[in-house]
């Protein structure tokens, strides 16, 4: 057992309001630079939708991630030998237009235009060439189902659904959508690291953050292809690839990453997971059906004395083990079994987990006759010719899951490599907690019914209370349990702190303050 610690994330999708505050926070801090304008290390997508870059999930196009061949896994579009043979021209590299051409406006025209008989306007110009341009794409072009005929309907996750199911998803009143915020998953088996010919990308041992050494990157751009989540970006100006750094300077000083700190819906949780690094290869190359379970299994119980001993022997700090025991992500992922990784079939073992959204499946659609109702309407009122009813009743406890507006297969394609039972299990738990809370607060559901719901979903009232607390009421320190980074010891590793002793308190980085000769 090779115990390592990993800073992991949980995003609770039911709580995301799609406000993009996270994206803006990240952009303002990290990517407001030439060459990085088009990068959104944090982006928020509407599902169904094609996302950013367009259709990133379709690995027939982008060739990202690992594929299993026999017992082994191979990088789909990079690796040995492809990372070297494609080095002069990488056929699978996404281009700027697959993301979008960043634009700004000629604001100065508003002030400097000569007098005329009409007002000036600031024309859109490209942030690459500076020339006037036609805006055709953006970082969230399909937001809120914008342009749904072209985008949402081409969502790669829909391909496995029948045409009738797909059609139903786009019927007014039946349709639903949800937001999917994405950052780098800081994977355990990162394809970006494996693909880099220069060895510029690495995973930090002590917290698992995946970083690109800007001094070593040589623009071979294989990581951009290899990351199936398209979370490494090529800076066209500096000729270096960049990616989400999980705000490591903030984490090291005990702050939550900016996207998480600013999240309006408070959907984000961050905490330590202990895992067994010896299992990485075998888990990543396990069968598709068992991928999710295996990934859950390699996450270790931080209360298990054996795990603690092995962690200590491996040099994991006591403070990190403590943090692992209080970790909100451990609770969501392991204790309660509520969260799932995004597209586990890419086999990078992502360490960002999602609690699947309940909304699109909570209500069902029932066929009814609406004629009597229509009669009563004022003639000005909008008349709906349709005969169905949006049903949010809780009479049949879990009945609505199967007639949900959103086919469960769609969720399963996103979060469990197509296995609906895994998604269903999680959704039942979420529903049971709601039923339980309704019993508690509104009281129109009997205790028996609420208990029945809980026990069917495999929960107890205590667990439901805990889930409710961490979902709805958590304080800042409940959501983000960040272990100390032990910078003091890290610094001791790099330099003799004794050298600096007796120096003039500040200002001498290289040499001690010695009198010149």
């Amino acid at each position: 057992m090779d115990v390592r610690s990993q800073i992991s994330m949980v995003f609770h999708l039911d709580k995301c309001i799609g406000c993009h505050t996270c994206s803006v926070a990240c952009k303002n801090i990290w990517t407001d630079r030439k060459g990085a304008e088009y990068m959104w290390w944090n982006n928020v997508e509407t599902k169904p939708g094609t996302g950013y870059p367009g259709k990133w999930e379709d690995q027939e196009i982008y060739k990202g991630g690992w594929k299993k061949d026999g017992d082994k896994i191979y990088l789909k579009g990079a690796g040995r030998p492809k990372s070297l043979t494609n080095i002069f021209h990488n056929p699978h590299l996404p281009k700027i237009d697959d993301y979008y051409e960043p634009f700004t406006y000629k604001y100065l025209d508003l002030i400097e235009s000569p007098a005329g008989d009409d007002q000036p306007t600031a024309r859109p110009i490209s942030m690459i060439t500076g020339e006037p341009m036609d805006i055709k794409m953006g970082p969230n072009w399909d937001d809120d189902l914008s342009g749904s005929p072209d985008y949402a309907r081409n969502d790669p996750n829909l391909t496995k659904l029948s045409p009738a199911e797909q059609e139903a998803m786009f019927q007014l009143e039946r349709m639903a959508f949800f937001y999917l915020p994405r950052i780098c998953n800081h994977c355990l088996n990162p394809a970006c690291v494996a693909a880099c010919p220069s060895q510029a990308i690495y995973k930090r041992g002590e917290d698992g953050v995946v970083l690109i050494n800007q001094n070593v990157c040589r623009a071979w751009r294989m990581c951009v292809t290899a990351c199936p989540y398209k979370k490494t970006y090529y800076n066209w100006n500096t000729g270096k690839s960049e990616k989400c750094i999980l705000c490591y300077p903030r984490i090291e000083s005990g702050h939550a990453p900016a996207c998480m700190h600013s999240c309006v819906g408070r959907i984000r949780y961050l905490g330590v997971l202990l895992y067994d690094a010896d299992q990485i290869e075998s888990v990543a190359s396990s069968d598709e059906e068992s991928l999710v379970d295996q990934q859950m299994n390699m996450i270790l119980d931080p209360f298990d004395p054996e795990v603690i001993a092995a962690a200590k022997a491996n040099g994991v700090a006591d403070s990190t083990i403590d943090a692992a025991q209080y970790s909100p992500t451990y609770k969501f992922v392991k204790t309660w079994g509520l969260a799932l990784p995004l597209h586990p079939e890419f086999r990078t073992l992502p360490m960002l987990f999602y609690v699947p959204p309940l909304l699109p499946v909570m209500a069902s659609v029932r066929d009814v006759s609406n004629e009597a109702q229509q009669e009563k309407l004022n003639p000005i009122a909008k008349q709906w010719p349709d005969n169905w009813l949006y049903d949010t009743s809780t009479e049949e406890i879990f009945g609505t899951i199967d007639q949900a507006r959103f086919p469960l297969e769609y969720m399963a394609n996103l979060f469990s490599a197509g296995d609906t039972s895994k998604v269903k299990e999680r959704i039942m738990k979420l529903m049971a907690v709601r039923i339980y809370r309704r019993h508690k607060t509104v009281g129109d559901i009997s205790e028996e019914k609420s208990n029945e719901a809980l026990s069917t979903a495999g929960l107890t009232p205590e667990l439901a209370d805990a889930i409710y607390y961490l979902t709805s009421l958590p304080k800042f320190d409940d959501r983000f349990v960040i272990p100390a980074a032990h910078r003091e010891q890290a610094i001791e590793m790099m330099e003799f702190t004794g050298d600096v002793k007796g120096n003039t308190g500040f200002g001498f980085k290289d040499k001690s303050a010695e009198r010149g000769s």
Binding site: F88, H89, Q199, N215, G498
Partner: protein, 242 residues
């Protein structure tokens, strides 16, 4: 004339060699951030294919061809002693040269006409591409006009180059060569000289070690096991963290 020749074929090669080694080392160690292939495929990918691939493949073949004649002159001459083999060698080398020329021209064309690529084009990029172009044109001219290059290179130039390395330049053979060939040789030294100042520096960091490393890379910035025990005194050797 002789002064110029002496400068170009005796002094300049040493200058170029020293500038190359010192410049590349300095750039790599002090400003590693600037060492990059500066790929522009992200901005324009289709035309790049028709430029970059023939260019690089042609370049590698031609470069290793020259290297072969330099390292193994006897073998080259022996190979060339049979006319068929000589023809095969010369024709394929020339084809690679043409591929190099074609690739370079399409790269240059792309760089000058694509508005996005223009944005990431420095004056040095244009300068070095023109220099390479001149060199390739001269090379093709030499190959066509002064047959058979592979043989006389091995016979005449290899001793000259070795003599440079041995620090006792023997220049008679070079001085006697036609102007075109002398320009081509001087061009080669000029390109060597320019490497540290241009994007050409990326060939020095060709990532061949990728073939031999494990896929996953983990770095510990601090390893608690390796942290100094506070009871022990500082050692004399400076500690390293990874």
């Amino acid at each position: 004339m002789n002064t110029l020749n002496t400068f170009l074929f005796v002094v300049f090669p040493y200058v170029a060699g020293i500038v190359f080694v010192v410049g590349v080392t300095y750039r790599y160690r002090r400003t590693a951030f600037t060492v990059s292939s500066l790929s522009s495929q992200f901005l324009e990918g289709d035309k790049l294919f028709w430029g970059s691939v023939p260019f690089h493949i042609g370049l590698l073949a031609v470069f290793f061809g020259h290297l072969l004649a330099f390292l193994l002159p006897q073998a080259t001459l022996a190979w060339n002693s049979v006319p068929v083999r000589l023809i095969i060698l010369e024709v394929s080398a020339f084809v690679f040269g043409l591929s190099l020329l074609f690739g370079l021209l399409s790269l240059l064309w792309r760089r000058l006409t694509n508005p996005r690529v223009r944005v990431v084009t420095s004056r040095m990029d244009i300068a070095i591409e023109l220099l390479l172009l001149a060199q390739v044109v001269l090379g093709c001219w030499v190959a066509l006009g002064f047959r058979w290059g592979s043989s006389w290179f091995a016979a005449d130039l290899t001793p000259y180059l070795w003599s440079l390395l041995a620090l006792s330049p023997e220049t008679d053979a070079v001085f006697a060569l036609p102007l075109v060939i002398r320009l081509h040789i001087a061009g080669a030294f000029l390109i060597l000289f320019m490497v540290p100042f241009t994007r050409l520096a990326h060939f020095v960091v060709a990532p061949l070690h990728y073939l031999f490393r494990p896929y996953q890379v983990v770095i510990w910035n601090w390893d608690r096991k390796a942290v100094r025990n506070p009871k022990e005194p500082w050692s004399k050797a400076r500690p390293k963290n990874n």
